[in-house]
């Protein structure tokens, strides 16, 4: 078990290193780095200062080591549009993105688990159809558009909820739901199909043959096994989450990391984008690490196959 976790941590570090390297290569390949890291209309002086700061006169591998060293010290440079350190911007905006993600995740789980399980148990019943329709719509609806439609309905027409911005708990409902629905769609289908596979298995027949009530057969013997493949696929779900959050934050003017990424593209603020990519990438890798360890805890078999 420990060996396995150690190996996974090593793998995660490798992934982090790779992303950092990629960002470095990108920053050095899309034009004069000094220009990339300075504001659009800054003069020759500003560029020269930046060139010195980045050590552009040094060999590439020294620049690279310096870059890595700054990363380890969490120094991501300063924003070129307002001079604030990127780390500070990210730290300020992170909580908004996280809380929104959490709300969306709760939405997604609260709907997808029961719908997926019931859909598999009562195949082709009304609830299975509802689950299917919700899933297909969620998978097919562009989140920026469904978000806008929800704003029209709930904020403009019925005036029940705030249309945008981060305020009280009511401001979480629309963006949370918009982001959660897309994620929920994939999960419902995954839970359902994996539950169906498990329900066909011998050990479920054995559980019934012991005389266990159906609720115990499903809740105890089937569900835990059905969730394993769902966990495996959660990395894909997570990807959908991140893509979605950039878009949803934009639609609802949510003061999170995604919004700042889009803004910095408009302002041509490379250091901020670089920071956001590194943060999102690390976050993704850490979550995957966590999921794998969780998997090992739920599935006793994993401990013996490193």
């Amino acid at each position: 078990m420990l060996k396995y976790i150690g190996f996974r941590i090593f793998q995660a570090l490798l992934g982090l290193w790779f992303i950092a390297t990629l960002v470095f290569i990108l920053s050095r390949s899309i034009g004069d780095p000094a220009e990339v890291f300075t504001a659009r209309n800054s003069g020759v002086d500003a560029r020269e200062i930046m060139a010195a700061k980045l050590g552009l006169d040094r060999p590439v591998h020294e620049q690279y080591l310096k870059f890595l060293g700054q990363l380890v010290r969490l120094d991501l440079g300063d924003s070129v549009s307002n001079g604030i350190p990127v780390t500070q911007i990210l730290v300020e905006r992170m909580p908004a993105t996280f809380t929104l993600g959490l709300v969306a995740l709760i939405f997604a789980l609260v709907f997808s688990l029961p719908l997926g399980v019931l859909g598999a148990v009562y195949r082709d019943s009304a609830i299975d159809w509802i689950a299917k329709v919700l899933a297909f719509l969620g998978q097919s609806m562009p989140p920026f558009w469904s978000g806008i439609m929800l704003i029209i309905l709930f904020a403009v027409v019925w005036e029940m909820l705030p249309p945008a911005g981060k305020g009280g708990w009511t401001s979480y409902i629309l963006p949370g739901f918009t982001l959660g629905w897309g994620v929920m769609a994939g999960m419902v289908r995954l839970v359902r199909s994996s539950m169906m596979d498990v329900l066909d298995s011998d050990y479920v027949v054995m559980a019934r043959a012991k005389g266990l009530p159906e609720a115990v057969v499903i809740g105890k013997h089937a569900l835990r096994n059905a969730l394993l493949p769902v966990l495996t696929y959660s990395s894909l779900v997570l990807g959908a989450f991140m893509n979605g959050s950039v878009v949803v934050e934009q639609v609802f003017a949510w003061p999170g990391i995604g919004t700042s990424a889009v803004q910095s593209v408009v302002r041509r603020d490379f250091p901020v984008i670089q920071g956001v990519v590194i943060v999102f990438g690390s976050f993704f890798i850490l979550i995957n690490l966590f999921v794998d360890i969780l998997y090992a805890v739920i599935d006793p078999r994993i401990k013996y196959t490193p």
Binding site: K3, F7, F10, T305, P306
Partner: protein, 327 residues
């Protein structure tokens, strides 16, 4: 030596267990650990043993699907590992295989014509009408209608699929066919059809078979000589009559006694306890000593690996407790 078609000498295969490209990996699995036997022209040699004894790995090495860790395989007196180019092609022509699962051994996306025709195309470059004719002949040889050449595997039953697999193996007029559990994937009522077909083909075409099986009744029915394996080692080798009439090794005895006799009046023999030992960390000395019914607490069996000795003429075994009758 003239009639020794295939000769296997001290063959061994160790797999790296567990681990991945970062960790160095666990203990080696000694799947096959020094096995010697030969197959004569026109005979059936059977390799018998329980799961994990290494009999399938031996077959894979002969078929060049696995590379031996040690030992040699020679075909018609020539070392197989030295084959390159033309020699290798010739070997691949002369040695064919039929596997256990008739569903997995035929490509579901290919017509029977292409399945049976593949060896003919690869080796003889047959095309069009000649190919069609030859495949039709082969289908008839195995008792199928030549019309079925345009069908896909899913249109056949298990027994018919196994016939197709046999036809494919016959296509290049090979000398040796490796039969890896050829009927254990089939229904009982179909097995006799395939076994009879195999016996007839051997008689008519002078084929040699290397039969891999765990079913001692089928082995007795099919084979001329028998080798028994236990945890990567050969423990006994004899002609069929000698093996079934005068079993020497206690493991072979246990195997024979374990088969339930289809006669209510013959009671079940005394069987052995314990589990089949693991090839990852095989027992010291004689690998069978942990389950052996005649093992007395002597250090000999526990510590010294028994020699592979000829006890009677053409009857070899590896057991400390068996005294040789010939010198």
């Amino acid at each position: 030596m003239a009639n020794r078609l295939l000769e296997v000498e001290g063959l061994a295969k160790h797999f790296r267990g567990g681990g991945n490209w970062l960790t160095s990996g666990g203990d080696a699995i000694r799947a096959v650990d020094g096995v010697s036997f030969h197959v004569e022209a026109g005979e059936t040699f059977a390799l018998v043993g329980e799961s994990g004894c290494g009999k399938t790995t031996v077959a894979k090495m002969i078929l060049l699907l696995e590379r031996p860790t040690r030992g040699s395989i020679s075909f018609q007196g020539q070392d197989v590992s030295g084959f390159r180019g033309g020699g290798l092609r010739e070997y691949k022509r002369m040695v064919q295989a039929v596997f256990q699962d008739p569903y997995s051994s035929l490509n579901p996306r290919m017509q029977v014509l292409d399945i049976i025709g593949e060896p003919l195309r690869v080796h003889q470059g047959l095309r069009g009408r000649t190919l069609r004719m030859r495949v039709g002949e082969l289908l008839e040889n195995v008792g199928l209608n030549p019309v079925t050449a345009s069908f896909f595997p899913h249109q056949f039953s298990g027994g018919q699929r196994q016939r197709i697999a046999i036809a494919r193996a016959l296509a290049l007029r090979p000398q040796l066919i490796v039969l890896d559990e050829p009927v254990s994937g089939l229904d009982v009522s179909i097995r006799a059809q395939i076994l009879n077909l195999l016996v007839d083909l051997q008689r008519d075409l002078g084929l040699s078979y290397l039969l891999i099986s765990h079913d001692l009744a089928i082995v007795e029915h099919m084979s001329h000589r028998v080798g028994v394996m236990y945890v990567g080692k050969m423990v006994e080798l004899a002609t069929r009559d000698e093996f079934y009439g005068n079993t020497l090794h206690p493991y072979s005895n246990a195997l024979l006694a374990s088969v339930p006799k289809p006669d209510p009046d013959i009671p079940m023999g005394t069987t052995i306890g314990g589990e089949v030992a693991s090839p990852i960390n095989p027992p010291s000395g004689c690998r069978f000593h942990t389950r052996c019914p005649i093992y007395l607490e002597t250090s000999m069996c526990r510590e010294v690996e028994p020699d592979w000795r000829e006890i009677l003429s053409e009857h070899l075994t590896a057991c400390h407790k068996v005294e040789p009758a010939v010198v």
